[in-house]
Amino acid sequence: MDVNITSEFRHLARVRSLIEERADSVGFDRAAASEFILALDEALTNIIKHAYHSQPGHPIEIHLSMQSDEAYAEITDYGDAFDPDPVVSAAQHYKELPKHRGGLGIPLMERLLDAVEFDIRPGVRNVIRLRKRRKVA
């Protein structure tokens, strides 16, 4: 399934419910689906806020693949590039709530997903890949 949106926060709710419906229809575990959805919301929010600097009208492409045992999303934007390595490594070592606002999105993604991958080609496109396997009961 492909969903294209533009860089406005008001689209987040629609994307979340689309994924929820899709998860239900393929029988993907609900608790795992809501964790996947939050991680994807964080990724989209970051793209709008940081890659597109909260400017509306820029494209974001979401490719979604949902099976009963795995959820996978590939999100492409054409905004600013960034170096994810220090941010991801800090998120993997996240221990406590920071003193100041912000910096929670990527730690959340790291904790909620089985795999997060940033594939940044500066000036070309940025891709974020999210993978979540169903919790084994």
Binding site: L12, A13, R16, T45, L104, L112
Partner: protein, 124 residues
């Protein structure tokens, strides 16, 4: 889908914010505005009643982080009550319970604030 909304009520000198629906980057500015209004009116004893909050992302969490130092510096606090397990998990994953107090009932959170008379004495 459930509409986002905030209802503010006063219990003595404690403001209770009943936050309902989905708190994300789209709706967080509304919460931020209400918090700013309250704080500018010197209402710094805040309880977030989240029983009807269905969803929270980092954009919502950031609002609490943005104001907690200021309200504590002015003798107040931000406390949380009646979270659903699903929403509490998000706070818990990030370590909020170490720096914030959570209560099953709003009444308990309200009672945790020192009484108004002793607070007045403190302020004078």
């Amino acid at each position: 889908m459930d509409e986002f909304g905030i209802k503010v009520s006063q219990q003595g000198d404690v403001s209770v914010l009943r936050v309902k629906g989905y708190l994300d980057a789209h709706t967080a500015p509304e919460l931020e505005k209400r918090m700013q209004e309250l704080i500018s009116q010197d209402r710094v004893r805040l309880v977030m009643e989240l029983a009807e909050l269905e969803y929270i992302s980092s954009a919502g969490l950031g609002v609490f982080m943005a104001y907690v130092d200021e309200v504590r510096g002015r003798g107040g606090d931000i406390k949380f009550s009646s979270l659903t397990p699903r929403v509490y998990t998000v706070f818990d994953l990030l370590g909020f319970p170490i720096l914030y107090e959570f209560f099953p009932e709003t009444g308990e959170a309200v009672k945790r604030f020192p009484h108004a008379d002793s607070a007045d004495r403190g302020r004078a």
